[in-house]
Amino acid sequence: MRGRRLSLFWAACAVAGALLVAFVVLPAASMIAGAGAGFLGEALRQGDIRRSLWLTVSAALIATAIAFVVGVPLAYLLARRDFVGKRAIEGIIDLPIVFPHTAAGIALLMVWGRDGIMGRLLAPFGISFTETVAGIVLAMLFVSLPFLVDTSRETFALVDERYEHVARTLGSSPGGAFLRVTFPQAWRGVLAGAVLMWGRGISEFGAVVILAYNPKVISVLTFELFEGFGLRAAQPPAVLIVIVAFVVFLVVRTVLLPRRGRSRKGSA
């Protein structure tokens, strides 16, 4: 009887999960099916789509790299130290998640635009964040950095701090203990956060369109084609970015993060 109840429970879980997976898969699948068999070649032959795809992927990568350099130390600090204002900082880092993205774009424009404090400060050096790649990177960085910082912080917190204590007594400085002992145990989580952040970056529309309509990232190009030429014209870039994102996620989750899931049970 108990076994039957358990199997019913798991069946209910599976049905609920299947519904959710179908909810995600269905629009993506129908978009790919609707585009037709030769859509990929057709899409890649179009120079503006090719350029836009490269711009989107590379801008998101640059934003992720910047977040890695400044976000990973912050994540480590939040995981290991208690200090006044820590909760406030955690809240601030998460703020972009709840910010409407168009509002984020406007807020960024007010600081980094031509009349904003940072915009005015950097203008003499020829650095502008409106209608430039730098603006796209900035918008992507703002809206997606919580994914890297939060995931990294949780991963660092899972590594027993006493490993670092042992490393310190064996001669490592705090930085050495981090690099030689903690990061090697946490890199998978940090990478997962980076991939999530990158994925969030390539899909960004609201903040990017306000800060830098041009050059066009794939989401902006898709919107423009849809507005100008209808559904059929907007399908190739949309399908292309979905496929690129899917392949990257699949490779990272199956090849680079093999320890995720059940096999991580009981490990640090």
Partner: protein, 357 residues
């Protein structure tokens, strides 16, 4: 040597100290106390991974209070080994080589390779060097952790419950390894545990930490025989602690509230005392069979019998409530059963008295 002078350490609302402790060079000291007494805080402070609130810490004669952990040259072994899971056993042991004794040898260049082989031989892990930590048993992990700590040539070794995650057979072997390796290396050791048997098996010196204060320090047999206070006595397994007052004319006679009097070997140190008797010092006899002239004879009724390995703990109701520990064979010979009438005797030399606080 290891020295603590007025050391206070805090973790949240809990604090330990002020503590004063000296472990002479080459000595194996055990900091013994119940869980939550603050033992690990003391080790962490000595290792340099926790700040002291007050006081000074000394290692090998040098004041290390303000030195960062990496410059204290103090080895640290935790109860679960904490081997770095991303490194092989050999790489774990070699982690601290770059610092050892001023030698900067680089990754497994000749002197380190020799030292690695020597250490592996010493702690019996030569056959494990290529393995991953995840594939080792609890005892093997602790051996590797010990080798890793020794590889950095520490001036003192700190062990935090190193045997508690190890099964009984491996524990005895590991105790032997700890004792022999530390002696051979001439190391000063501070070993923290809540396990009395472990402490007495290893310690040259025992320090008792209860509720964040150091209650007593001394040789294991002295601490066991003459506990400084009731909490120490009870923690060390002296199950019989009764309150008594000194006889007005005979300083070696103590009166219990129940009217019975117990004779002690040494004059009582105060008018009001706690009398401490270890259960193994209480002898059980059939009624009338106790040796004539034996002091401290008590008529009692057996109320509880608890088998403890090869011994039986006998709970007896008498004018001075006593528990006795007898061998299982002796219990069988005496035909002990609950409700049986027996006679108990306690030699005056086995009654320890502590002034009532």
């Amino acid at each position: 040597m290891i020295g603590l002078r007025g050391v206070e350490v805090a973790a949240g609302a809990f604090s330990v100290g002020p503590l004063d402790l000296d472990v002479p060079a080459g000595e194996y000291a055990v900091l013994l106390g119940p869980s939550g007494a603050g033992k690990t805080l003391v080790l962490e402070a000595l290792a340099g991974v926790r700040r002291v609130r007050a006081g000074r810490l000394f290692v090998d004669g040098a004041d290390v209070t303000r030195l960062p952990a990496e410059r204290r040259r103090v080895g640290l072994v935790f109860q679960d080994g904490l081997l770095f899971p991303h490194l092989s056993v050999a790489a774990n042991v070699a982690y601290g080589f770059h610092r050892g004794n001023g030698e900067r040898t680089g990754w497994l260049r000749r002197p380190s390779a020799e030292r690695l082989a020597q250490l592996a031989e010493e702690v019996g892990i030569t056959h494990l060097l290529k393995r991953r930590p995840q594939t080792l048993s609890g005892g093997e992990r602790q051996r590797v952790a010990l080798a890793r700590a020794l590889a950095a040539r520490p001036r003192a070794l700190l062990l935090d419950e190193p045997l508690s995650a190890v099964d009984v057979e491996a524990r005895e072997e590991l105790q032997e390894v700890l004792r022999s390796v530390c002696r051979r290396e001439g190391l000063t050791v501070l070993h923290v545990t809540h396990d009395r048997a472990e402490a007495f098996a290893l310690a040259d010196t025992c320090a008792l930490l209860v509720d964040g204060t150091l209650r007593q320090t001394g040789r294991p047999q002295d601490v066991l025989r003459w506990p400084a206070d009731e909490a120490v006595a009870r923690f060390l397994g002296a199950r019989n602690v009764v309150r008594a007052v000194r006889d007005e004319s005979d300083a070696r006679l103590a009166h219990l509230a129940t009217g019975v009097a117990l004779r002690v070997a040494d004059p009582l140190p105060a008018a009001a005392v706690d009398l401490v008797v270890r259960p193994e010092d209480v002898e059980v006899w059939p009624v009338g069979a106790a040796p004539p002239g034996a002091a401290n004879r008590l008529r009692a009724t057996v109320v509880r019998l608890v088998l403890q390995g090869g011994h039986v703990l006998v709970g007896a109701e008498s004018p001075a409530p006593m528990e006795a520990l007898v061998t299982a064979r002796r219990a069988e010979d005496l035909g002990l059963r609950v409700g049986a009438a027996v006679e108990l005797t306690v030699a005056p030399a086995c009654v320890h008295s502590i002034p009532t606080t």
